[in-house]
Symmetry: C2
Subunit: 340 residues, 2 copies
């Protein structure tokens, strides 16, 4: 019932080998022969069985996209762009989530689920420990890491420390002296996470400007969601009512901070300034000042690096994109009465 390569071969009067070569545009097929085959295939509505072709060739034409949780904006945006890039190149995108809903602990990556199913892998925002890295290696396909650096692999991302510094400098330039920080919690599975680097950026910048950066100004959460940012901000404001600005490690946390500040009857951008990092799509309606990273570009680029690796270009690449300060309404000078 379904048409096979043999049917095409019969109709065009050649062997299946020739059909295979002709259809894939391989060299060494006569012009006239190719024509014939193409016509026959079209007439029969032939589509090669991807699974048979995978078994025979050892290539799956699909890519694994591994990430913590694709429902969050940053991940889904990267995935979207990567998927489109892969599809244009004839590859399918197989998504694989390792959720961390409950906090820093997440499920371990098991290569077993992906072995023999993908030609390459993209890993987003996940640091792999020794064991997971061994699993990854056992897949035997190239991998590129996005957001998190992993030794021995290509990497696409931003300079998280710089991004944080950029955010802090903006606040400092406006006159802020007591700057709180909402950070992502360090966790054992991911000691070099972006959140960690962003915290370092905050600390180093405040230190450089001789400003306070004690632990009491830093409030850490497990995952960097708006609701965690909200709760963290309430704690932070209870502890340090003297802060005039908050630098959130992500835009979503910044949005939660805004909610908490407003609930106290304070005006965001006047009583307390808030700056985020990421460049979230919804930052604009929020009026959120932020340091934006080029998310879509990272998705496309990471996919391109993976594609090149599949084609044999295994050279390790590190591609760091610049970030951009976007000034909107949530940051202003500190309120006159509260400058020390």
């Amino acid at each position: 019932m379904t048409v096979r390569i043999e049917d095409v071969a019969r109709l065009s009067g050649v062997s299946t080998a020739t059909v295979s070569r002709a259809l894939r545009g391989l060299p060494g097929v006569g012009g006239r022969t190719r024509e014939l085959v193409l016509q026959a295939a079209k007439a029969l509505g032939y589509t090669p069985s991807p699974t048979a072709s995978s078994l025979a060739s050892g290539r799956t034409h699909s890519i694994g996209l591994i990430q913590p949780d694709m429902s969050r904006w940053f991940f889904s945006t990267i995935l979207e762009c990567a998927e489109q890039t892969f599809r244009k190149a004839g590859y399918d995108a197989l998504v694989y989530s390792l959720p961390d809903y409950l906090g820093p602990k997440r499920q371990r990556f098991k290569a077993r689920d992906l072995v023999g199913k993908v030609d390459a892998v993209l890993v987003l925002s996940l640091f792999f420990d020794k064991q997971e890295e061994a699993e990854l290696r056992s897949l035997g396909v190239p991998a590129v890491f996005v957001s998190v650096r992993q030794k021995g692999y290509s990497h696409v991302g931003i300079d998280d420390g710089q991004a944080a510094a950029q955010a802090c400098r903006h606040l400092i330039t406006l006159g802020h002296k007591t700057i709180g920080h909402l950070s992502g919690q360090t966790n054992d599975l991911c000691p070099f996470a972006p959140s960690q680097r962003r915290r370092d950026g905050w600390k180093q910048t405040l230190t450089r400007f001789n400003l306070e950066c004690s632990d009491s100004l830093d409030e850490a959460v497990t995952i960097m969601t708006a609701s965690n940012g909200y709760l963290a901000t309430k704690r932070l404001l209870d502890r340090r009512p003297d802060i005039t600005a908050i630098m959130a490690s992500s835009d979503e946390m910044a949005m939660g901070a805004i909610q908490a500040i407003r609930e106290r009857g304070l005006a965001v951008g006047r009583d307390i300034s808030v700056i985020g990092i990421d460049g979230h799509d919804l930052g604009r309606p929020f009026g959120l000042t932020t340091v934006a990273q080029p998310v879509r570009k990272q998705g496309v680029t990471a996919a391109e690096v993976a594609l090149k690796a599949i084609e044999g270009d295994l050279a390790l690449k590190t591609i760091i994109f610049p970030t951009t300060l976007i000034e909107r309404a949530t940051v202003g000078p500190p309120p006159a009465g509260r400058i020390r």
Copy 2:
């Protein structure tokens, strides 16, 4: 180099047929034999080749997830939940986007890209025309539609008309009489889209209460993003400065509306109320009043329906989830001076 079923057979001293049966837990294998096989497989670290097993069995153990654009919150949340549900059942999720960035026109669905790759398909928020439906049918696998109803297929969603009515009634109860609407544009590919039904809900409810629902109160956009909501609201306010409330067809549009209203120096929830539909994660920090739909449940349920269909339960199901009014800060009574 990679271990095959034959290696396991040899080590355990049985045939490959027995290994295959034992490993898959099929009946008709001796207890002791099964033991032996399991041990051998474990000792060798055997993982069956998914592509070989697919070719032989005709089942791929993966599901196609077709949607417009997975970077948007609603889609990515559904995908996330569906993927997790599928993975637990031993299925991979193959995502397939048909972007509509530029407006209502999108790429047509081509079955060719998916044929032989999936055991079932989930379609989100996409209406398939005759031609696409034929393509889908040619895939020869069960499909379930989420958000959009498609004749002849199982469907998981909400009652969009009711959701809109619920939102309108809330505004009317508070005393609003001139209620604008931000709607998603009807497009030829998708005449029965949720946005269309939501608009109908708005119209019918206002009519029932003898309130104005002329076209000048309705502002349609191509895709329902925050920035389109922002622009639409500006046009709406220019044309109808007398409105006291806006019902947006999606939360993202509502967020854009809030931005536009604030830019005019008006207070959201006092001068102009705004209500959305969806229950977006970021509605809370926005203080957005909305009619929420259970997004995660829909994702899980749709996946379960697909899984059952794969197992032979082809009965058509229609599962409609209730929506819930969530009162927050963007809706209040109309300003006293402006009630007619």
